[in-house]
Amino acid sequence: MRWAWAILVFTSAAVWAQPVVPGLLQERHGLDAAGQGRVLIEELRCAWCHKGAVKRKLGPDLSGVGARLDAGYLKRFLLDPHTADPGTQMPDILGMLPEDEQDATAEVLTYYLKSLSAGKFSRANVDASMVGAGKKLFEKVGCITCHAPGKGVGLKHVPAKYGLDSLSAFLFQPRHARPAGRMPDMNLTRAEARSIAAYLLGPKELKVTELNPNPAKVQAGKLVFRSLNCTSCHKLPNQKSQLKLPMAELTAGKGCLAEKPDGVPNFHLSAAQRDAIGKALAGIEKPLPDRLQVQHTMTALNCIACHTRDGAGGVSNAMFQHFGTDEEGLGNPGRIPPPLDGVGAKLRPEWLRKVLFDGEIVRPYMHTRMPQFGEAALAHLPPLLEKVDRLPPVTFPELKREGRRPYREAGHQLVGDKGLNCVACHNFNGKPSPGLKGLDLLTSFERLQPSWYAHFMRDPQKYRPGIVMPNFWPDGQAVRQDVLEGSTHEQLRAMWHYFSLGRSARDPAGIRSVGTDLLVTDRTRVYRGRSRVAGYRGIAVGFPGGVSYAFNAQNGTLSALWQGEFVSVYWGGQGAGNFNPKGRAIELAQDVAFYRLAKDDAPWPLRPVMTKEQPVNPDPLYPRNRGYQFGGYQLDKDGVPTFLYRTGAVTVEDIAHAVVANRLTGLVRTLRLEAPKAETIYFRVLTGKVQKLAPGQYGTDSLKVRVPEASALFRGQGEARELLLKLNLPKGKSEWGIRYDLLR
């Protein structure tokens, strides 16, 4: 029975010239005729001329219309809005004038409106290839729910009206031009807005209607704009409006509501619409009950196209196909926006506002986007919802500090994979679930009211019909009898407490933080961080092709080489992300590499070693007092670094290139030194169990180096051998090469 009015009012909807309010086209808005009339009164902005207890819906802001719309379209629209844009809510105003004045009036109005913005309207060619993507997006994000082809707010007039730039800008921020928010912000990026604009305009080429400057017409238009009372709905600076009869004194069938309105704005109302408005006028001064006001708002803004509430609304069969998801396993709740029954008792007040006004979302997998209607349209709604939506209260008294641990542990256990395995279908703190990537559980406490949470958990199906979430407390009986003595309330309390810890909650078992592998593609990559193979001031260098090395910048030495992938970095905790070689690293000594030994057999100065017993650096100036100072690095066009440093007064440019050959893989390293005066310095190449393989060739089990034999100084015994280069530097520049071959 409830739907009878809807059918009655709109079965005559074949005449599409009547003004369209998309919410009233829904099959299940549930409003009676008077209710529909009241929605129409608000949507058609009657209250701007007729004072009454109805909200004043803001009119389009015309200050930018000159740059937004084509002048030719604008004039046609002013002359006959219902032909130019069938379904428009703009009344025919010029029809009030004698027929022979209409064209000239439309003309001067067009001149005036175009003069309001300095920007220039333009048309750009639409690339036909963009059209298909735009159509997909139009359907995917939810535009189609209000703009269903042939039913809903018509878009056929759009190509004549807009250019690509102006339509893109409008779609990106629709509330700039239309502050009432009926065309909501769909959270599009600029590129998405352009794509949808391209689809709506199509590749047809249209001309821009040029107007020649004509101040007289502009001035005349300005006067007409005021005398026709356009200013009632379209607020412009320095333009006043006039009020007409108060709303309570209006009569059905008269004035704008006459079958053939004469001398008044003509909205082209259908008979049913006139009838509905007439019925609404009877009680128009009585404020709506809160619950009904919610229903009116949800109809006026067409929330009911996606959401259900109190038996009204919901996605129609025809539209269902357009509601997509990235997580099909979540079923309908993954693709259909949630029911709004009791939403005022479900969401915390702060979160409700974040969703409505700040664009916060927690279901990134859902393709349909939550439109942003803006505060002008919706500021009244949250307090109403909070007033009318009630749930039997369930409280979880705050736990005493000493009593928290068992609850924290129980919550952690229940959420994890050794408990109820919530993480099988829910992400946690941005970390993906190993299964379905459902709503992030860490958001629960910030979003939800505890009473709703408690009721929902005991019967998810009741609050979210079709949800795949099992009931872990069927008939109030906990399926996990081994946790908190099987008490349903205590288990729910424990999980709530666990969620309340926010980020300080330990990740539940089953959610893994994994190291991030840094990949090297076509460019050499440099990453600084601490590492066992390079110290705290470590720098990893990864070449395309799979050779990497590490440089200890604290002491100025090449400290490790490896093959295979580059490094993995752990970014899960407090630290910056230490790096670990992805391949088996060949580690070299990390002491200073350059030094001035007093004589050939003097011991090499070793870096200070800190231990548990001696954690304080006993020689904090070790590298500096051995002459070393790091200077940074320069990347070449391929991203290959040249390390820059000094040893004493000698400057060093240290560059290594990867060599990946059939049999030999490794580095070719060049040291370019510049000395202010000739001197002898030592460079340590290799330590440990080193053998001389051939003149100029030395090696360990895993690494072979080739050095200039004339400079080689091979010393020490057994496993404590050292290969040094004794470099007799000339004054000025000299260059030394070392090759490192990685052995299998």
Binding site: H176, R503, S504, P615, Y633
Partner: protein, 499 residues
């Protein structure tokens, strides 16, 4: 109850460093003002492109109005379009591979360079070939030791003389095992690194106050029972003595006598001449738990009525606060005020945009955070509506002068009962955090509202040196009977001006 929480709680740079995993902990109660704050300051999400991780640790505004963002992961992005009404900014990667960035500074005249403070060093990062990506990384200073991941380095912007300052956190948050951990250093324009002050614990940000004096933010922990703003006095000792071992490496500076644990800072600073008292104490939990980067509002009123005030983010509570300072008898002190709660992640730094909005960003990685996003960028926009707020508090010889953003009505404004003041101090000790002690409740003997209603002078029975004076002005009304948006403020009295 609160004192127990404080005693046992573990702060941003606390024991966690020693624990294998993050331990559960509550982040404290809300102010409960979020819904009302929204009317005056909107929090606008600045979306980060899908698939990108931007854990902001530092911001700098470039000459071309792009915002440079340095991240914990060591990347530097240049963001354009931050001020668009509906921000959908473009992020261009300028550099990568640095080590946890907590300082970005642009030096005038160097349009393609940024001075980057990260854990390893202060690096000048340049784009020398004009392709928009950095290719030269020059070490400006690495004059400090780095042996533990918790040894974060925070860098300031340049001062008028071209100096940049670096604040160096302790080792594992408790020790000073590597050179100059727990010190602040001055890096001069010619690249000299000069240690200027010891006694830092776990800094969260460094930069000038609204009068141009160098300050830093200190975290609650040993020798610090609450977070505080401190004046970084050259040659000063900032309170935590574990870093005294590096005085032999700091030419010209003399090791102070060791402070005694379990005292009060107001008396201890008479014995330890170099000890600099907390300028603004942020009562723990009520006013943040891990305060981080801050910035002074120099927007010329674009951000509302708080021109020339300090704005600070808090990591744990995802909030923004305000602070003001003044110098009395040569000592810095001042007040802090609640400002905006309900941000989405742990705030690590803040910066004003060209249009005078406040950009805030951070992560929730590693420590307890209220905000539910792993990382986020958000912009605070003033809506243009004037909130009724305590604008600023000054001390007078016998009480305080309180400034308001809107005229207070004469009835409540002239009534001494509208001004409730309590005081407390902290124990100055080596234990972690500490309770509020020595509470007093001075009598407000007189209240005198100025004719324009925009300020009031109150006379107190006593002013307690070394105490935080806590204001509750909830009974005040503006001339339309509106309530204060935030009723509390906290003034730290180190000195009382002479009559």
């Amino acid at each position: 109850m609160i004192c127990c929480v404080k005693y046992r709680a573990i702060g941003l740079a606390g024991l966690l460093a020693l624990l294998p995993s993050v331990q559960a902990e509550e982040v404290g109660a809300r102010w409960g003002t979020e819904q009302r704050e929204r009317e005056f300051y909107r929090v606008v999400n600045v979306p980060i492109p899908k698939g990108q991780v931007i854990e902001s640790g530092a911001f700098e505004l470039m000459p071309d109005n792009r915002m440079a963002i340095g991240t914990r992961r060591g990347d530097i992005y240049l963001m354009s379009g931050v001020d668009d009404d509906k921000p959908r900014p473009r992020f261009e990667k300028f550099a990568e591979g640095l080590d946890e960035i907590f300082g970005l500074a642009h030096r005038q005249g160097e349009k393609d360079a940024l001075y980057v403070t990260h854990s390893a060093e202060l690096t000048r990062v340049r784009d020398t070939n004009g392709d928009g990506r950095a290719d030269r990384f020059e070490t400006v200073s690495d004059a400090w030791g780095y042996r533990n991941y918790h040894e974060y380095a925070f860098g300031s912007k340049f001062d008028a003389k071209g100096n940049l300052y670096v604040a160096l956190g302790l080792s594992a948050s408790y020790h000073s095992r590597a050179l100059f951990r727990g010190w602040a250093m001055k890096i001069t324009p010619d690249g000299k690194s000069i240690p200027i002050a010891s006694g830092l614990r776990s800094p969260g940000g460094i930069g000038p106050n609204e009068h141009g004096a160098l300050f830093y933010i200190e975290s609650q922990g040993p020798w610090n029972s609450s977070c505080s703003l401190k004046f970084l006095k050259p040659g000063g000792f900032m309170g935590h003595p574990v870093s005294f071992n590096w005085y032999p490496y700091a030419p010209g500076l003399k090791r102070p006598v060791a402070p005694e644990s379990g005292t009060r800072i107001v008396t201890e600073k008479e014995k330890v001449r170099e000890l600099v008292p907390y300028a603004v104490v942020f009562p723990y939990i009520r006013m943040g738990r891990s305060i981080t980067g801050y910035v002074v509002d120099k927007t010329g009123g674009k951000f509302g009525p708080f021109e020339n005030q300090i704005f600070l983010g808090d990591y744990t509570q995802s909030i923004i606060m305000r602070a003001t300072t003044e110098q009395i008898n040569g000592v810095w002190q001042g007040a802090c005020y609640p400002f905006r709660e309900g941000l989405s992640t742990g705030i690590l730094n803040v910066q004003f945009t060209p249009k005078g909005r406040l950009l805030a960003g951070g992560t929730n990685r590693g420590w307890p955070v209220r905000g539910i996003k792993p990382f986020a960028l958000e912009r605070l926009d003033w809506t243009g509506k004037m909130p009724f707020e305590i604008k600023r508090i000054h001390i007078t010889p016998d009480g305080f002068k309180i400034l308001f953003t809107k005229p207070v009505d004469a009835k409540t404004g002239n009534d001494p009962k509208s001004y409730r003041v309590k005081t407390f101090t902290h124990i100055y000790h080596g234990g972690y955090g500490g309770p509020e002690v020595d509470q007093t409740t001075p009598t407000v003997q007189r209240a005198e509202l100025a004719a324009d209603g925009l300020s009031a002078r109150i006379t107190l029975s006593t002013l307690k040196r070394g105490h935080v004076h806590e204001f509750d002005l909830g009974a005040l009304r503006d001339r339309r009977q509106g309530e204060l948006l935030h009723r509390h403020a906290y003034y730290t009295v180190n000195e009382v001006p002479k009559k």
